[in-house]
């Protein structure tokens, strides 16, 4: 179906709580330039730009792609702006890929960013509306009850979330772009960190980061001759379901299962845990790792936590999850999904540096957003299909 598409360039900024050295334009440009350098290309080689970010209110700029057109060399080109809540980095990548797969463009630059330090994100997300739920306890207050349901149903022991938090922060030490670099992280430190939204502890949550990620996607003939090995797209999928309705399963949402089934079918994957070598999965709160292991079909329902407990999701496990440190270590919200997709691509390109999983040939990038209702996934391979 469609043209073959490869990731030929990847650029990331250093993620930090505040990038005071760069404007918003400077931030996206830093990622864009690095992606172009990786692909050995110049701005003029790009046919179109697809940009994504989470709500405009995070920076206080309405439809910022208009202002960013110059910085991203988009003048005279098509430019699209995607917004699908927290999954936006993933959906932005998929929209960019479809422009190549549909045969419309040869090379597309895709960028996702968030510069949360430029505005008051708490304000942006909790602008008081008279009739919305009056208890606004933030994203943690929304997801913590789902986690509690998961713990109750699966009978998972309390320490699982802490294991995930520890593993991802240790992985982050091998990723120079990662925001959190916690040399002294330990289970004891995590356990001693304050409860924010019980059962979620402070060190089991993601940070708030400034950052941008960019990728250059190219059609087969160009990707084949790229200076560095491309990551070939063998499946892309998006699924959405409503936020709330009677009988909705919030812990193991159908949209996620359907999205995984779709992307696996495209990639010819029948046993995901065996067929996929490494996965970058959107885990903003530690307990979402075991939850998504089940949703993605890596484990039977109720047993995802055992993968974490047995070390299967660690760098040296059989199913390494978030070798980059994941969302728990860097979270420029609008970019977080694209970082998952890009890190999956880096793994199969063999370019993940110190957090490279040896021999990674097939990788999954995963993003979700809203009330666990927007899902985006892609599967990339080192070998051209």
């Amino acid at each position: 179906m469609g043209e073959l598409c490869g990731v030929v360039g990847i650029g990331q900024t250093k993620y930090a709580s505040k990038r005071g050295d760069l404007s918003i334009a400077g931030l996206v440009r830093e990622a864009g330039i690095r992606a172009l350098e990786d692909a050995d290309l110049d701005w003029k080689d790009i046919d179109a730009v697809v940009i994504g970010k989470a709500p405009d209110m995070f920076e206080g700029v309405m439809m910022p792609e208009l202002y960013l057109a110059d910085a991203l060399g988009a003048s005279g080109k098509p430019m699209l702006r995607v917004h699908t809540a927290g999954s936006v980095g993933g959906s932005t990548s998929i929209v960019a890929a479809s422009l190549v797969q549909a045969g419309i463009h040869d090379r597309v630059l895709t960028v996702a960013f968030e510069k949360q330090s430029e505005s008051n994100a708490m304000w942006a997300l909790s602008s008081k509306q008279p009739f919305s739920p009056h208890i606004n306890a933030g994203a943690g207050g929304y997801f913590a009850p789902h986690i509690r349901t998961y713990m109750r149903r699966s009978q998972a022991p309390d320490h699982i979330g802490m294991l995930v938090a520890l593993k991802d922060r240790l992985n982050a030490l091998k990723n120079p772009y990662a925001h959190l670099q916690m040399e002294d992280i330990s289970l004891q430190k995590i356990e001693a960190s304050p409860m924010l939204w019980a059962p979620i502890r402070y060190l089991e949550t993601c940070p708030s980061s400034d950052g941008a990620c960019a990728m250059v996607l190219a059609r087969e003939a160009l990707a084949k001759d790229a200076p560095r090995p491309p990551a070939w797209l063998v499946g892309t999928a998006m699924r959405t379901e409503p936020t709330m309705f009677p009988g909705r399963e919030e812990v193991n949402p159908q949209a996620g299962k359907d999205c995984a089934a779709d992307v696996y079918a495209q990639a010819g994957i029948t046993d995901p845990r065996k067929d996929i070598d490494v996965a970058e999965v959107y885990v903003p709160f530690s307990w979402f790792e075991p939850m998504w292991m089940e949703n993605l079909g890596f484990a039977e329902e109720g047993t995802g936590w055992q993968m974490t407990d047995e070390g299967a999701t660690a760098l040296d496990g059989d199913m390494p999850i978030n070798a980059s440190g994941g969302v728990l270590s860097s979270n420029p919200i609008g970019a977080s999904g694209m970082i998952r997709f890009a890190e999956a691509a880096l793994q199969v390109r063999g370019m993940a540096g110190d957090h490279q999983i040896d021999g990674a040939r097939t990788a999954l990038g995963h993003a979700y957003g809203g009330g666990s209702q927007y899902f985006c996934m892609w599967i990339v391979r080192s070998e051209r299909p």
Binding site: G60, P133, I147, M195, W197, P242
Partner: protein, 164 residues
């Protein structure tokens, strides 16, 4: 450069007049009278509260009004230990999903009148209303839900508890 400018403050103020929508307005008018109004979906027959004017699952408009009791069951919850900006509620407090008797979807609210570490999923609770003279067009007319003297109930999987 000496004294480089790294930051400027550009305050943004915009005023909006939000529209609740017809269904939500009816729900809020009900609360003003101390009533909790849901709607029944004509297609799947589930009762949705707060009334939203549409069934998200079936994509059809919902019109049939169903008045619900102010008692229900905690299906899940979390204990919030950090203050919420602009909120008078002091941490730690319990945010819970409460399935009112006769409703097929949970209502998000507070649980109080019990130490947070004693709240359980499956616990039966009843609304603690503010004094009648303080009622307004808001769910805040209910201060929180408080435990009832009833045994906990076994929780179903949400997928099986709603009408298919």
């Amino acid at each position: 450069m000496e004294n480089p400018v790294e930051e400027i403050q550009t305050p943004i103020r915009l005023d909006y007049q939000y529209t609740a929508g017809e269904a939500t307005a009816r729900f809020l008018r009900g609360l003003k009278q101390g009533r909790i109004l849901g709607q029944r979906c004509p297609s799947c027959r589930n009762v949705i509260v707060p009334a939203r004017g549409a069934c998200a699952r079936c994509g059809v408009a919902t019109k049939e009004e169903v008045e619900l009791p102010d008692v229900g069951t905690v299906t899940t919850f979390c204990v919030v230990h950090i203050p919420v900006p602009g909120s008078a509620v002091k941490p730690p407090f319990v945010c819970a999903t409460i399935k009112l008797d006769g409703a097929d979807i949970g209502l998000f609210h507070l649980v109080g009148g019990i130490p947070p570490d004693q709240v359980r999923a499956g616990m039966r609770v009843k609304a603690q209303w503010k004094p009648r003279e303080e009622w307004d067009y808001t769910l805040e007319n209910i201060l929180y839900f408080t435990p009832m003297d009833e045994p906990d109930v076994e929780l179903d999987d949400p997928r099986s508890s709603a009408h298919a």
